[in-house]
Amino acid sequence: MSLTIAAQDAAPQQTWLEKLGPGHIVLAVALVLYPLVASDFFLTQIGGYSLIFGMLALSLMMLAGYGGMVSLAQITVAGIAAYAIAILGNNNSNVLGFGWPWWLAAPFAVLAAAVASALIGWISVRTEGIYTIMITLAIATATYYFAQQNYAIFNGHSGYAGIHAPSFWGVNWRDPKAFYYLCLGFAVLSYAAILYGARSTFGLTLQAIRDNPRRMRALGYDVTAHKVFAWFLAGIIAGLAGVLLVWFNGRVSPGTIGVDAAIDVLIIAVIGGLRHPIGPFFGALVVVLMQTFAIDIVGAERFNTLIGLVFLVIVFVSPDGILGLWGRIKPHLAQESLRSGP
């Protein structure tokens, strides 16, 4: 819960447990023990799904929070990994499906997504602010329509079905518990990588570029290269999320990477808060819960209105999203997080 425990002014003699901080430990224990109390539905449809979308929003948070580049194309990057799994592995749509084993297909899919992300970054780094949003939105929309109308590679509107998560070590990784832990594992990995990366030389350089690109250029840094590399790294996280997403759904179609989904990712990141990498996961949890249960609260006709209102209220009350809300409840924590934030 406390977001800032792993403070950067930690003295070197601290043990790793102290470095981790009680907030992270409580959260980790809760997440690891969650399957003991949750039903299968809550494990995968809420837990797993939130973690996947949390990772997607995390990749956006990394670009936006540390690099100052708001991207609407993260779902496109995830979609490329998902389609790659369908095309390289097995599917039952009778189109392509090279039958590669998962341990070859999955890394390749993530790599393809990262390269595609770097390419998108390379196109969009010359722009700033709202123009980056526009160009990435354009790329996302174009990819969606291309997937919708291309039959040789994307199999058109119906996309690919019958994609199975792998089974190894005697575990079917699509079983609720196994899948939840799989998602949790990758989410924690990405989260830790971002936490670590933000304080690495590259992370600090990226943040400096965000704050003043002209000065960094004058100091001799290759601004474009740094930004494109950030896109590549964000692409790895989004690609991992894409692989998990296609294993989760068992299918992928243009609807998965549509503009609605692209905006969902942005909403998750904004609702959660862009100041700390934990924000996107809280945002994802709130959004997934709302999208799943709003229909039970107000009925089929107006549930999207309720979802919109809740998001509006969150952003209205706290422009920093849920993280900001927490900061308001705990003022001293908020100050601390300002110091350690990106």
Binding site: M1, V26, A30, Y34, V37, A38, S39, D40, F41, F42, Q45, I46, G47, Y145, Q148, Q149, Y151, G156, H157, S158, G159, A161, G162, N249, G250, R251, S253, G255, T256, G258, D260, T292, I295, G299, A300, E301, F303, N304
Partner: protein
């Protein structure tokens, strides 16, 4: 103290996230899931489907075999992913044992695949009408009492060739499984009668600009077969007319419905005389249809005449209720009794008798219609002919029918 409060918060959060599905409904209620498109481009259609389903529930007073029926709604946006997600929520969280839906073609294919993983739940179609939902690789627990898009075309191809005298027809249709099935149903008859289809155009759902499609239609065709829905149909027809096109039209099942027929302007003149076919007809004079229309109109926001979607959801919900009645409202055996009752079920719908084939797909009457001007100047679909008891293989022996192959953009073909 602080830790204490934090623990409380964590506990509160944990209970909120884990509240086990309280699906242990009391013994005297039966939960039925209703899955339709309450968002996205097909919202209006989904809402009318709901009206149809609720008509069936209210007809029996909301009770079956002494148990109260509880309808739990799920919403999709017409994409297969969202349909599966909504179905999962209804089945795995709300604990429904009977699910009615979904509405559109690709959704049906996806839900059928999901049905295979939930053998104790009984899935009954809404109005999704792709052929392979039941024809190839069907699920044991997926039932369709509402027929498929190829069946809906029964009689149209022959009528267009023989009575209208069209020898060469171009097709324009949306690019997904349901229009493929409709074009297949039309061409199966039309090509057999000797007709030719030199050009087929597939457009994405929600397309706005049809100029390139119109330019690609050959000049020498006798008519254009159009299988587009809602706004797509209006956009295409208007643009075709503005570009000076004069070829007469042939309509798919959801092309020349009231949303298009009530449009104003010169389009009217083009539409008069357009033949179409489907599971319903506006001027059906049979008492059971009139009674159904009366019942349907009691629903809030009802159209003057129930759409094909209200009809489909009505028939499927009705079948679910009849099946539950015969099973004594008992689904505690994993639905085996219910599915047994459903597969033998044969009953009279507002549009005639319906029964199932071995793939659990309906055999039912189809209606051949033609657009005419009514007494009050409104356009409506006049009933031309009833094609009785059309089965999924369109009267062709099954092995011969299967040889025609799965429907897609290129199959069938007779240029």
């Amino acid at each position: 103290m602080r830790i204490h409060r934090r623990t409380l918060l964590a506990l509160a959060l944990a209970t909120g996230l884990t509240a086990p599905s309280l699906a242990l409904a009391a013994d005297d209620t039966i939960k039925i899931g209703l899955l339709a498109t309450f968002e996205g481009p097909f919202t209006v259609l989904g809402e009318d489907g709901e009206r149809g389903a609720m008509t069936a529930v209210e007809e029996i007073g909301g009770k079956v075999a002494g148990k109260t029926i509880e309808i739990v709604k799920g919403s999709s946006d017409a994409s297969p992913d969202s349909a599966v997600r909504a179905a999962r929520k209804l089945v795995e969280q709300d604990g429904v044992k009977v699910l009615v839906g979904p509405l559109s073609g690709d959704e049906g294919l996806a839900v059928k695949d999901y049905a295979k993983t939930q053998p104790t739940v009984t899935f009954i179609n809404g109005t999704s009408a792709a052929q392979d939902t039941t024809l190839r690789n069907p699920a044991e627990n997926f039932f369709r009492f509402s027929t498929d898009g190829a069946q809906w075309m029964a009689g149209l191809g022959t009528y267009a060739f023989n009575d209208k005298g069209y020898k060469k027809v171009a097709t324009v249709a949306e690019d997904y499984s349901f229009p493929y099935t409709q074009v297949f149903g039309f061409m199966a008859e039309f090509c057999k009668a000797g007709g030719k289809v030199p050009s087929k155009s597939w457009v994405p759902i929600g397309n706005k600009d049809y100029s390139s499609v119109i330019a690609a239609i050959p000049d020498d065709v006798d008519a254009i077969y159009v299988a587009l829905g809602g706004a797509d149909a209006v956009n295409f027809l208007t643009q075709y007319q503005q570009s000076g096109g004069t070829a007469p039209l042939i309509g798919g099942s959801i092309t020349v419905d009231q949303t298009v027929l009530t449009s104003k302007g010169k389009l009217r003149d083009v539409l008069i005389g357009t033949p179409a076919a489907g599971p319903t007809a506006d001027t059906n004079g049979s008492p059971s249809w009139t009674k159904f229309v009366e019942q349907y109109k009691k629903q809030p926001g009802a159209f003057p005449s129930p759409s094909l979607f209200a009809h489909g959801y009505y028939v499927n919900m009705k079948a679910a209720l009849l099946g539950l009645e015969q099973a004594g409202g008992d689904v505690s055996d994993g639905g085996a009794k219910l599915r047994d009752a459903l597969s033998k079920l044969s009953f009279d719908t507002p549009t005639g008798k319906v029964s199932l084939d071995k793939n659990r797909n309906a055999i039912a009457d189809m209606f051949l219609t033609e657009v005419t001007e009514g007494a009050d100047g409104n356009l409506l679909n006049k009933l031309v002919k009833v094609v009785s008891q059309v089965n999924q293989t369109l009267g062709i022996p099954e092995d011969e029918f299967m040889k025609l192959g799965a429907v897609n953009r290129d199959n069938p073909s007779c240029p």
